[in-house]
């Protein structure tokens, strides 16, 4: 059906890129991109970090001008677009940071832009409050959000992240967009929220709006359907209906090498117990008990409000537990702060690596040695930079960083490489237990592969690992056992070698009262 629609509208393409080249200084970011977008179609722009996906989006939205090439918009040819031209042509972008104003209401966030554009950017005008409300109601309804007064007047910073995502989408469609570009829209969404988003996309397509996704989540691409557009090194290496490609083929197209999507876990845990958690209580966690052996990988999953995040933070001392007993290596330990957790041998790779884990403007070298600075320092407190450099170089190699320049600021690296730096830092102190919180959120296929291999190697070396994640294939591929949490408790425990995604998902929706019966 998608193909039919495609051919029927062949004559009137929405947007066409012809031989687009883009240089950033000496970097050839786009090497001749040809891309045609049809109305009402869904496109999935796939590729590893740094392949040129975001550059293409920015050229479409007018944020960047191409070095050469043509953009055909509504039959008119441009050498570059301004943001206003792009918006006026109905190209709306939902950026990864959502670009919402946290202190304004939902209605204002959704519908104020329309009035600003109608006013031509002039501010010395009244705004039409009736129109604001009407536009907001229409757009929110289209995005599957409530349209009552209480919701319209909710301040955006009071909304859960998932609703903010939908509010950002509502804003994109409030202005009667023809093309909605979504940059990793589902990264922070649970499965149910993704379902809702997919319904929104279907509605948009039925209204002849084209949707362009940038994403790493292939499962969702298959569910949405439409066209796959695969980028590698600034070139478009494949284009076609997504159902004609297997996951493995897509991964190979993206990375240019063959990726094994099979189970990574091959080792076996030892018999010695490493961690015992007895009736742990924390905010959102109710009397949780479990144990972990040396060399074992334990997966923990659940919906966003299941308590999985709070459990990870309690183990790491970030948000300390308020009750229960934790025994590590035979000794009762308490983690009242991250520093205490580190001293006991517990490492933590946070979910939000940008905010919580990395010093973005500092070099790879400084990030890698952040935990061992005191060990590298002599009695006068002077840090032995030579020794640090050697250690950082070794860690970077183990983590297979794609650069040898350790002076590069971490902020300049791709998401996958940043995550490798963060995990590498923990290797420097060889913790007994490593808690990984969403280790591959926003990470491309190639980096995922590296990270999984490192995780397995760490378990092989006897470290205990806890992976808290909502990426179910990730847990199935890497863990020995998976605990499913709901409402602060464990509702199911499964053998990762035998469990399926469906079983896990069903368990995630099981409430604690149901499981107690």
């Amino acid at each position: 059906m998608a193909a039919q629609a495609h051919s029927a509208k062949q004559s009137a393409s929405l947007l066409e890129l012809r031989n687009i080249q883009k240089w950033f200084g000496g970097v050839h970011a786009l090497r001749g991109i040809d891309l045609t977008l049809q109305p009402g179609e869904a496109y999935h722009l796939l590729g590893e970090n740094g392949c040129g996906k975001s550059t293409v989006i920015k050229i479409m939205s007018g944020a960047h001008a191409p070095t050469s090439g043509e953009i055909v918009l509504d039959g008119e040819t441009f050498s570059s677009l301004t943001p206003i031209q792009s918006l006026a042509a109905g190209i709306e972008t939902v950026y990864q940071d959502l670009s919402l104003l946290p202190n304004l209401t939902v209605a204002e966030n959704v519908a104020l832009s329309e009035q600003l554009v109608n006013a031509g950017g002039r501010l010395a005008l009244l705004f039409d409050r009736k129109r604001l409300k009407e536009t907001a109601e229409r757009a929110l309804a289209a995005a599957g959000l409530p349209t009552d007064r209480a919701f319209l007047n909710t301040i955006v910073s009071d909304l859960p992240l998932a609703s903010r995502q939908l509010v950002a989408i509502a804003r994109a469609i409030a202005t009667r967009a023809k093309l909605v570009i979504m940059d990793e829209p589902t990264t922070s969404l649970t499965r149910r929220e993704v379902d809702n988003l997919i319904r929104v996309v279907e509605r948009l397509r039925s209204e002849n709006v084209a949707v362009l996704f940038v994403t790493h989540k292939l499962d969702e691409c298959y569910r949405i359907g439409g066209y796959a557009v695969v980028f590698r090194d600034g070139q478009c290496v494949a284009q076609g209906p997504i159902e004609t490609y297997s996951k493995k083929e897509l991964a190979e197209l993206m990375t240019g090498r063959s990726i094994d999507a099979q189970r990574y876990r091959t080792g076996k845990p030892s018999d010695a117990e490493l961690l015992k958690v007895d009736r742990l209580v924390a905010e959102g966690v109710r009397e949780m008990s479990f144990s972990l052996k040396k060399g074992e990988i334990l997966g923990i999953t659940g919906l966003a409000d299941s308590g999985r995040n709070e459990l990870a933070m309690a183990l790491a001392g970030v948000a300390p537990a308020t009750g229960g007993v934790v025994t590590l290596d035979g000794k009762t330990v308490s983690m009242r702060s991250p520093a205490e957790a580190i001293a006991r041998g517990i490492g933590y790779v946070p979910e939000d690596r940008l905010a919580e884990g990395l010093f973005l403007d500092k070099s790879i070298f400084e990030n890698e040695i952040a935990l061992i600075v005191s060990r590298l320092a002599n009695s006068l407190g002077v840090v032995d930079r030579e020794e640090g450099r050697k250690i950082a170089a070794r860690l970077s190699e183990e983590m297979r960083l794609n650069t040898k320049d350790l002076n590069l600021p971490v902020g300049a690296l791709s998401g996958g490489n940043q995550q490798r730096v963060l995990i590498g830092r923990w290797l420097s102190i060889a913790p007994k237990l490593l808690v990984l919180h969403g280790p591959t959120v926003g990470v491309d296929v190639g980096s995922k592969d590296t990270i999984y291999r490192v995780i397995q190697a760490l378990a092989e070396a006897g470290m205990g690992l806890v992976i808290v994640s909502d990426d179910l294939p990730e847990l199935l591929q890497n863990a020995d056992r998976i605990l499913v949490m709901n409402n602060g408790r464990v509702v199911a425990e499964m053998d990762a070698g035998r469990a399926t995604e469906d079983e896990l998902y069903k368990a995630m929706l099981t409430t604690a009262t149901e499981s107690a019966q």
Binding site: P102, L123, A124, A150, D158, A162, S163, L303
Partner: protein, 345 residues
């Protein structure tokens, strides 16, 4: 409960629909705390010393609120956009003293309306200098306005004069005495609510209207929420900065000329040094120092709170030197209260 939460996205999307609670009210409308404090103080003072309820005391409070209230409205507008201004007292001193000198020495026949307009415009011009500097230097407004406070004041004292003018041009003095309401109190003294008191409610209404009814008002809050995003969405930061500081400057100029008329003397060393208490009033009114929040009503309540504290402590026998202790504790208490409320979220 958790079941319904996970089952229903819409429920999760609208936590604001929780049943009415005091905490929620305080979080959404922090000025209710200011109001409660104000009422509590008034009740306590009225019980301790019924003289507080005399019309003369209330009128004193009203009179004392005008200049601080005008300053506070300007500070609030800038705070709403995520900036801060400490130069407004220097702008006010500059406008009032230059205008007085100008009228006294060169244009003795200038009507009072023109004098007020010129002072307001002059204040706006100085404010626009602030706005342009903040925008083009890309320096935090605190630093810029510390700089311009010294500049404006230095210019005033070096080039315009340092002499304390004790006798004002007659039309200015007359404006300061012009009554709005006048009546005789029990002891036979004449009590006057001056005409200039009206300026404050009018300015407050205009400020409220700009902030809540115009695109500029929404743009000011948008910039206060996140300037980068606001600019990505098409709000012109330059226009917002120029307007905002120009408007605050205009209010400062107006406040300055009213200050002179009300006190019937022009002291070029006046006003500067009171910035912190004005900013304190605005923050006590519920505006966050980090920007993007607050209301005109809250700002006025904050001003009233500070003015009442300044004028009533004496009535209940607390030495005036204690005012600072009390105001300081209130600011800390209110701030702690607002912050814990926000964290609860």
């Amino acid at each position: 409960m958790s079941a319904s939460r996970t089952e229903d996205l819409h429920g999760a999307a609208a936590p604001a629909r929780a049943p009415f609670s005091l905490g929620e009210l305080v979080r959404r409308r922090p000025e209710s705390i200011t109001f409660a404090l104000l009422v509590a103080i008034c009740v306590i003072v009225a019980i301790a010393n019924p003289a507080f309820l005399q019309p003369s005391t209330l009128i004193d409070i009203g009179r004392a609120s005008v200049v601080m209230g005008l300053f506070a409205l300007g500070v609030f507008v800038i705070l709403a956009a995520g900036g801060i201004d400490v130069s407004f007292t220097a702008i006010a001193a500059f406008a009032m003293y230059s205008m007085t000198v100008l009228v006294q020495s060169y244009l003795p026949g200038l009507p009072i309306v023109v004098i007020i307009l010129m002072a307001t415009l002059g204040g706006a011009l100085l404010g626009i200098i602030n706005g342009l500097l903040v925008h083009h230097l890309k320096v935090p407004s605190l630093i810029v306005t510390i700089g311009t406070q010294y500049l404006f004041r230095g210019f005033l004292l070096s080039f315009i004069g340092t002499v304390w003018i004790m006798s004002l041009p007659p039309q200015m003095g007359a404006f300061g005495r012009m009554p709005l309401v006048q009546f005789e109190s029990a002891n036979g003294a004449l009590i006057t609510l001056p005409f200039y008191f009206l300026v404050l409610p009018v300015a407050a209404f205009v400020t409220w209207w700009i902030l809540n009814r115009t695109l500029m008002g929404r743009a000011i809050f948008a910039v206060g929420g996140n300037a980068d995003i606001a600019s990505r969405l098409g709000y012109s930061l330059r226009t917002v900065h120029v307007f905002l500081f120009g408007y605050a400057g205009a209010l400062a100029g107006l406040a300055g000329i009213i200050h002179v008329c009300a006190n019937r003397q022009a002291n070029p060393f006046d006003l500067v040094g009171t910035e912190i208490s004005v900013i304190a009033a605005v923050v006590l009114g519920g505006a966050r120092i980090t920007g993007g929040t607050g209301t005109v009503l809250g700002t006025l309540l904050g001003v009233l709170l500070i003015v009442v504290l300044n004028s009533v402590l004496v009535l209940v026998g607390i030495p005036s030197t204690w005012q600072r202790l009390v105001v300081g504790s209130f600011i800390l208490l209110a701030a702690a209260f607002f912050v814990t409320r926000q964290r609860k979220k």
